[in-house]
Symmetry: C2
Subunit: 350 residues, 2 copies
DNA sequence: AACACAGCGGCAACCGGTTCCCGTCCGGAG
DNA sequence: CTCCGGACGGGAACCGGTTGCCGCTGTGTT
């Protein structure tokens, strides 16, 4: 028996009180720290606390209305690099502010999301942060709005982080980044290098992130009076495998292009491998660009030209604005900027 | 006012009871589902519940001793691919089992870890899972053991997932994977290809994961009667930048080697870039291998030969054994196997 | 018609904390 | 010596739930 106390398992505040010969109120006051307590009593209580290795039950405190509320965030897949960076920002800022962080991955299943939000309402979470893009359908807006109302009426707050907003009137905080602007700048860079047939490896066509990036691709063309061949717009999802498959297929079909812009770096990675497999060199035969600036983009060969997105900052802002909101402040809507980072995977045409 | 009810904000069980004209106990019983309640009463209660959009406060239930306890996991950095996969396994299994998941990143700061564990004791978490390797010092063992005892006395459980065990007698569950075995097999593969001077890009020398992999490296040499040049054992950390720097330095010093084994795929990625920068081809001039089999390993060029570690499974097992433990079962210690996956980055010597 | 019993629902105690309110004891001022 | 007020600590109500126990009612037996 190396344990110093009688090892009572979890001990309550009344156990401590009994051992110190005082009432539970006094123990609570000593631990609270504000109420005046004589130093003799304080010492006895602290001693009992140490002897029993007592820690107040955070859940009981929560019921009594003290204690910091928790925060929750929901994402599709924690192993995705951009998701992970947002999660990092959220967790980090929450910790800095003294909040605990609940996490839920949905694996793309809407049902999981709805159930989890309901649980968070029961937990009386301070805020629920929905992280990462989504399809923007009427059902989505309807469902999400219901979640927002339901959380709001329970005193919580819904935050959309990199997700389609719901239109006016919904009790939500929205933090977005400029998908279209980033894609515009990136594609403009590619076009400036003289490329005229630029293959676009996009995402699902109802996915807002994919839509934004595709709009940027088109806008950059139009700004120079170009009208891109619709056959060059391919759709898949945001995975490495999708990039690989799409690229492989495009090559097999003999599609003509001198540059490839992928909707994400993951897609670009898959595409790059497919290009290599086909015996093509990058950027010698084909130029390639990605989107997201995940850490690995530097270590692809050639190092990938891409668009940097301040994912971590996005997460941090999400918790800050959700928590710092004053009752009378309006629902916020932030839009963060992006910028292209030029590396070695895009070369002049010819 | 589209809201259908009078929108009471959070409503209590007594509000529901009042509206349904019954007592709080009855509402509780209707919601509980087991106790016999007449169908007329049940209908009235359910109606009130729906009208008020009532959800029972999970924290209050927890205090009353019902409701599923939460689970917590702690890791250094959620953006690391292998960490992320363990986190994924943990979260997924927890959800399957109906538990909520708290997360904390430490950024390598021991103090954060200790504070968080204390909070989890206050939360009465079912289990706290410490994820990922660590330095194995006397202080580490002492501190971790204290955490384990303290959690155990509060009815929680400490789980070490991919972390150094504490020796006999500590109330911990340990889930490890075979670092040494994997490295042994990998290095054996490299040696079989005829390489004799194999550079090892290791981690911190007091880090158990790094130690295990280094032991494997040495053992594989000794098994064939080889005695590796100590100058070929380099130490850094597990980051991409460390790999880049170490490789760059080794090349600058004119160290001689025909193959490189990196302690992680991240390190290998950095090393690969450094090799490319020096104008060397892989595996033409130098062979290269990694460890972890992160998804990106496939998309490096050449595709990286590496060791697969069942990270997700590791996380899943951590929660399963922590939760499924019966009071009389002994403290478990699992060791999962690894296997090498051969791709294109290792070629025969000469 | 009296009785037993099952079905149903309310009261009150409890979970583990916090805090309002009040009583006691002390010292210092008049 | 009395009176006053501030410092200190205890009792009890409360937070929002659950549940043991008991009493009421209605129906089916004998």
């Amino acid at each position: 028996m190396t344990r110093k106390s009688e090892d009572a398992g979890r001990s309550t505040i009344r156990d401590v009180a009994a051992r110190a010969g005082v009432s539970a109120s006094t123990v609570s006051r000593v631990l609270g720290g504000v109420y005046p307590v004589s130093s003799a009593t304080r010492t006895r209580v602290m001693r009992a606390v140490r002897d029993l290795d007592y820690v107040a039950d955070a859940r009981a405190k929560a019921v009594a209305g003290v204690g910091t509320p928790t925060l929750a965030f929901v994402l599709e897949d924690i192993t995705g690099p951009s998701f992970a960076h947002m999660a990092y920002g959220v967790e980090r800022e929450a910790r800095r502010l003294g909040h605990l962080c609940l996490v839920c991955t949905t694996e793309g299943d809407v049902q999981h999301e709805v159930e989890f939000v309901e649980m968070m309402r029961a937990q009386r979470a301070a805020a629920v942060i929905l992280v990462g893009g989504s399809a923007d359908t009427p059902e989505y807006r309807e469902r999400t709005r219901r979640m927002a109302d339901s959380l709001a009426s329970a005193g919580s707050r819904l935050v959309l982080c990199g997700r389609p907003p719901l239109g006016p009137g919904a009790p939500v905080t929205v933090i977005e980044y400029d998908n279209e602007g980033g894609a515009y700048a990136l594609v403009a860079h590619v076009l400036t290098q003289g490329h005229r047939r630029v293959l676009f490896l996009g995402g699902a066509s109802d996915h807002t992130t994919a839509q934004g990036r595709e709009r940027g691709y088109l806008a950059a063309h139009r700004a120079r009076g170009l009208d891109p061949d619709p056959a060059l717009l391919l759709h898949g999802d945001f995975t490495r495998d999708s990039g690989h498959r799409l690229m492989h297929e495009a090559l097999r079909q003999g599609l003509e292009f001198t540059a490839v812009v992928a909707a994400t770096d993951m897609v670009a990675a898959g595409a790059l491998t497919a290009l290599h497999e086909a015996g093509l060199t990058v950027p010698g035969d084909v130029s390639l660009a990605g989107y997201d600036d995940i850490p690995f983009a530097r270590d692809l060969h050639p190092a990938l030209t891409t668009v940097h997105v301040p994912y971590e900052e996005l997460g941090r802002l999400a918790v800050r604005t959700a928590l710092g909101r004053t009752p009378e402040s309006p629902d916020e809507h932030l839009l963060l900027g992006t910028h292209v980072v030029v590396r070695d995977s895009v070369a002049p045409a010819e």
